[in-house]
Subunit: 245 residues, 2 copies
Amino acid sequence: MNDNFSTTLVKAQQIKDYIKKHEHGCTLTEVAKNVKLNKTTTYRLLQTLVTLNDLIKVERCYYVKQQFTANYLPVGWLTSRIVQPLVNKYELSAFLGMPFNHQLVITQVFAFKKRLIDFYQLGKAQAFNTSAMGKCALAFMNQAVQSDVLMRTNLQAQTKNSLTDQNSLAYSLQNIKEQGYALDDEEVQLENRCLAVPVFDKKEQLVGTLGVLGTKATLQRRKITKLVHDLQIASNQLTGQIFNN
Amino acid sequence: MNDNFSTTLVKAQQIKDYIKKHEHGCTLTEVAKNVKLNKTTTYRLLQTLVTLNDLIKVERCYYVKQQFTANYLPVGWLTSRIVQPLVNKYELSAFLGMPFNHQLVITQVFAFKKRLIDFYQLGKAQAFNTSAMGKCALAFMNQAVQSDVLMRTNLQAQTKNSLTDQNSLAYSLQNIKEQGYALDDEEVQLENRCLAVPVFDKKEQLVGTLGVLGTKATLQRRKITKLVHDLQIASNQLTGQIFNN
DNA sequence: TGAATAAGTTTCACTATTTGAAATTTTTCT
DNA sequence: AGAAAAATTTCAAATAGTGAAACTTATTCA
């Protein structure tokens, strides 16, 4: 290496690049071993990167901090105050999703500390018919917009259990509207449940959906009534404090 | 500072933070002076950060690399092949904008090398009626969606020259539709012109708009016909190669 | 166009930070 | 509770980082 270079910065970048490739998080020992650095050197650089807010450290695991900045969604810190307590109370990850380009885009994530990988759903788009959040949005959106979306959405199954038939989708959407929420029971991913309620603006137009994701153990069927109730309160708070422009 | 820390990483971070605050770009001398580092040290760290792709260096100016990753827009590299030649030919910055949440969001930027600050438009949302790109989207979008948007858009003037009256907006949209493009002539920012054409999918539904931004000198009125022609070719290429899912 | 100035880059001796083995502490697992 | 694994601390040695001075390149101005 020549004299115009900083090997310290290179090592730090190698560490960041390794951790970026491992969404599940890495231990210090694993990073040192795979990046081929001394573990003390690795320890020191990791400490510094955490202090500089480039990495997150949670229980002996290191993660890259998500850099998605939703410039056009000025709702971050207020939403956090409303949603984060639910995350802690129910030990579930929560998401805010909004319709965008005939899909539902996850615009904000509140990952439970034991499910930090859920942060990587941020920015991801999904067809409306493939998840609870999407189906919830579909059920509660403006009728004209819904018709347009249904006509143009590529109704593509993601798992074997997904609804693919138009008639059963319509029936399902009717049920969702009546009960006030949508529920995925292992339809998207085995062992996982997702539950979502709608979020409206002051003019009662759908803005998005608020969903939670957990396992069968943490999102038990017998808890659904209470959870739905708390999510609906949170949704109303979002309407009252945020979506009234 | 204690033994568990890297002062090199801290200095690099101070440099990045300073440059991040200066969207117009900074020189080496300016960074060294303001971050209070020796200019040789600063020089060395800047070289390394550029090599590691954390910073961009263009003609003695350093810029932070934009980190916005449009995960839900798999059009990046192909769009670049279509649009970048126009940027170079006309010496204008180009943008792709898409409707999102009743606004037009800039989803992709191709900044001309002398207008790198235009990269910071990425992710920004604007009301439909306030720019050529927004008005173009409004003019060409699905009639039902347009009515909905017009009903709910907060028609708020951004500059004195912006159209605020509903009737003159409707008249203006009709003109845009007839001539096939929208033009801002110093309406958003003095000395700047913006010109936009629609982008459709294969089913002739509006997906977004393709716009270019320049000064009165680089976007001269007598060049508009040719520029519009080239933009429409690019738009058709986008439709044919990208927006056909 | 050429001189003056400003900015950027290179050199090299010095030193402060980085390094890493060994020791110690903490956490996890059985 | 104890063994094993992982993380953190210590401390002497090594070296990458440092910065003044010199040199080169780019820009500005007359």
